[in-house]
């Protein structure tokens, strides 16, 4: 029967259908088409870190998932460890999928905060096995980098090492570091001459003494969006920033470049909070994240490297040097020690809070 008088065929559904088709055709060029599950009527709450990164995740994981399954995805956040724990304690978490860093993955497994990944739904064979965990699936590889203003410093005058961030003579003026004990202690010790191999366990007091030398000249950022803004406004000329956030700022016209010397690499994982009421739909969203076309899309937006090796062929070659996984960048960096942070995070966060006030 011809659907001429079909009540549901409105201009909007027609438009949506044709957009989906266009998307499928465009993607089909590089990646095979997928069979979809029907999750109509389901709602999945997705929590992440806000700003440019969460926008990219929405476009690359959540929107394709909604399109493929008919489920609705609600964005929430920002991700916060204490909030996450409080939700689990209450027994009914508001979030179904959360983006967390590797240190919290390790800590949370011990405290039974996550649902076990359902490998009958999430096809982990697509991924580099280093990023597959029983309780979380790696989505991006990223790094803490030294960012600097190309307007303030050019060529040989540009800062290259963490020691430069602590050199007030050669690089006067305000600089920025994260208001987070993770990464800041590492950076201070590297600047003080400790090699990455000898970094862990961290000499906390030595790191804080080193930080004392630039404390009054440092602005500590609390969100990644703020770290970008500090560079965009010219409030600081150098300091610590995540590689993807630096890329996003540069893409939007800010005069910013990064050094890859001693970059500190980390991994973000998607997890399902224990007790999630939409466990199955959440697992399907994680499965959609592992698809190479979606990971490539995210990398093309914000320069965070994929965990599915097949995604690399879909990434714009111009972005390659910004990725933490570029061979040159891997060689110059090292992976953060998640075991150390799992065991010491809470204690050192308190030490950090006390240091800031002193």
């Amino acid at each position: 029967m011809a659907p001429i008088s079909h009540p549901r065929l409105t201009r909007r559904t027609l438009l949506r259908g044709s957009l989906g088709l266009a998307g499928a055709v465009a993607v089909g060029a590089a990646f095979p088409a997928r069979a979809a599950v029907d999750l109509k009527g389901k709602t999945v709450v997705f929590a992440s870190w806000g700003g440019a990164y969460q926008d990219a995740e929405k476009a690359s994981y959540c929107d394709p998932f909604a399109q493929m399954t008919g489920a609705r995805v609600v964005q929430d956040g920002p991700m916060n460890v204490a909030k996450f724990r409080a939700m689990i304690e209450s027994g009914a978490p508001d979030w179904d999928v959360a983006d967390i860093t590797i240190d919290f993955l390790y800590a949370g497994i011990g405290d039974k905060l996550f649902e076990k990944i359902d490998k009958s739904i999430v096809d982990t064979s697509r991924l580099d096995p280093r990023f597959v965990n029983d309780y979380g699936i790696g989505c991006i590889v990223w790094s803490y980098n030294l960012g600097y203003s190309t307007k303030a410093y050019a060529g040989k005058g540009a800062p290259t090492t963490w020691a430069d961030v602590f050199d007030l003579k050669r690089f006067p003026g305000k600089r920025t570091l994260a208001d987070n004990v993770v990464s800041t202690l590492e950076v201070a010790l590297l600047a003080d001459g400790v090699t990455p191999e000898k970094l862990y366990p961290l000499d906390v007091e030595r790191a804080l003494r080193k930080l004392d030398t630039i404390k009054s000249e440092t602005i500590f950022w609390s969100t990644n969006s703020q770290s970008q803004q500090l560079f965009v406004d010219g409030e600081v000329n150098l300091g610590l920033i995540l590689n993807g956030r630096a890329y996003d700022a540069a893409k939007k016209g800010a005069p910013i470049a990064v050094s890859w010397e001693q970059n500190i690499q980390s991994v973000d994982y998607l997890v399902v909070p224990r007790g999630s009421r939409n466990r199955d739909a959440a697992m399907h969203l994680i499965d959609v994240m592992t698809l190479p076309e979606n990971q490539a899309k995210l990398a093309n937006i914000i320069a965070y490297a994929p965990t599915n090796p097949a995604a690399f062929k879909g990434i714009d070659p111009q972005i390659a040097p910004w990725l933490s996984t570029a061979p040159d960048n891997v060689k110059r960096g090292f992976l953060i020690n998640a075991e150390f942070w799992r065991d010491n995070l809470k204690k050192l966060q308190e030490r950090w809070a006390a240091w800031k006030l002193a």
Partner: protein
């Protein structure tokens, strides 16, 4: 019936009408009270459910978490950081308050004695920021004060400063942000106090030989004191609980107690310490109100 009974009965008899009237009045008064209570009930209920309940619950955690006892207060006392934050908070409030009074006094004065046109304008100018979202205003302050912001451009452009001044993420930025937010809280109580001052007092002082300065200091200023104290109390107590402004405009050394409470909950999930710090904040606010009551009396301020 004995005679004494008869007497009592008669005694009862006499003022019966009066008693009836009194009783009627009492019933009517009780009815009025009941009706006003009924009208107050929604607000009281809201206060109970949305304010007293949660606050009491948070404060009680100071004594019950992680276990029953005073451990949170012991830690608060022994750990240097917390008392430092309390001191920061009181010192910042004590700095912001006189600045607000000094800036607000001339504004309130002009508002009281200026032309109606000027008064309208001043009320408008003072109230507009009051109606604007705190977050929006604070972001605007960030833009205004930043290193390459308009204020620094003007300073450097006019040759007043050789290099951009550090106006943000320090005490200067925090005070600028706090004072501009709190100014209405001193301007309006001062304006109200000044409206109540009979202009004849000043005229009398001047005709009796006091110079303008002396007349102002000895006659006018004391008469504005209730307004000054109301404004100062409002500013001081509001600043004690500041969160957004120090978080966005201050530096690590300007950390205030509300931020520390937030950190205890959001970073460490330590509700016990958050409750203890909240109790401390409440105690300081109470102390300020008590001092005010002892010096001038809350009634004079509430007038």
């Amino acid at each position: 019936m004995s005679s004494s009974d008869a007497i009592t009965a008669e005694a009862r008899e006499g003022p019966r009408e009066d008693r009836a009237r009194e009783a009627g009045a009492a019933v009517r008064a009780a009815g009025r009270l009941g009706r006003s209570l009924l009208l107050l009930a929604p607000a009281l209920l809201l206060l109970l459910v949305a304010f007293l309940g949660p606050v009491g619950w948070l404060l009680s955690r100071a004594f019950t978490q992680p276990h029953l006892g005073l451990q949170n207060f012991v830690e608060l006392w022994e750990r240097q950081g917390y008392l430092q934050v309390l001191w920061n908070t009181v010192a910042i409030s004590a700095t912001a308050t006189p600045i607000c009074i000094l800036l607000g006094f001339p504004v309130a004065h002009a508002m009281t004695y200026g032309s109606p046109r000027l008064r309208r304008w001043l009320i408008f100018v003072v109230l507009i920021p009051f109606w604007t979202s705190l977050l929006v205003r604070t972001f605007a302050t960030v833009i205004l004060l930043q290193r390459n912001g308009p204020l620094n451009d003007i300073f450097v452009g006019l040759g007043l400063a050789a290099a951009p001044l550090p106006l943000l993420y320090n005490l200067t930025g925090l005070l600028i942000g706090a004072v501009q937010v709190l100014l209405p809280f001193v301007v309006f109580p001062l304006h109200a106090a000044m409206l109540r001052i009979d202009p004849a007092y000043m005229q009398a002082a001047l005709t009796l030989g006091a110079g303008p300065v002396r007349a102002f200091l000895r006659v006018y200023l004391p008469l504005t004191l209730p307004g000054v104290l109301t404004g100062a109390t409002l500013v001081f107590i509001s600043t004690l609980g500041y969160y957004v402004t120090p978080a966005m405009l201050g530096g690590p050394r300007q950390t205030m107690i509300a931020q520390t409470i937030q950190d205890q909950i959001a970073q460490f999930g330590n509700w016990g310490m958050a409750g203890a710090l909240s109790l401390l904040l409440l105690a300081v606010s109470g102390l300020v109100l008590l001092l005010l009551h002892l010096t001038v009396g809350l009634k004079a301020v509430a007038r």
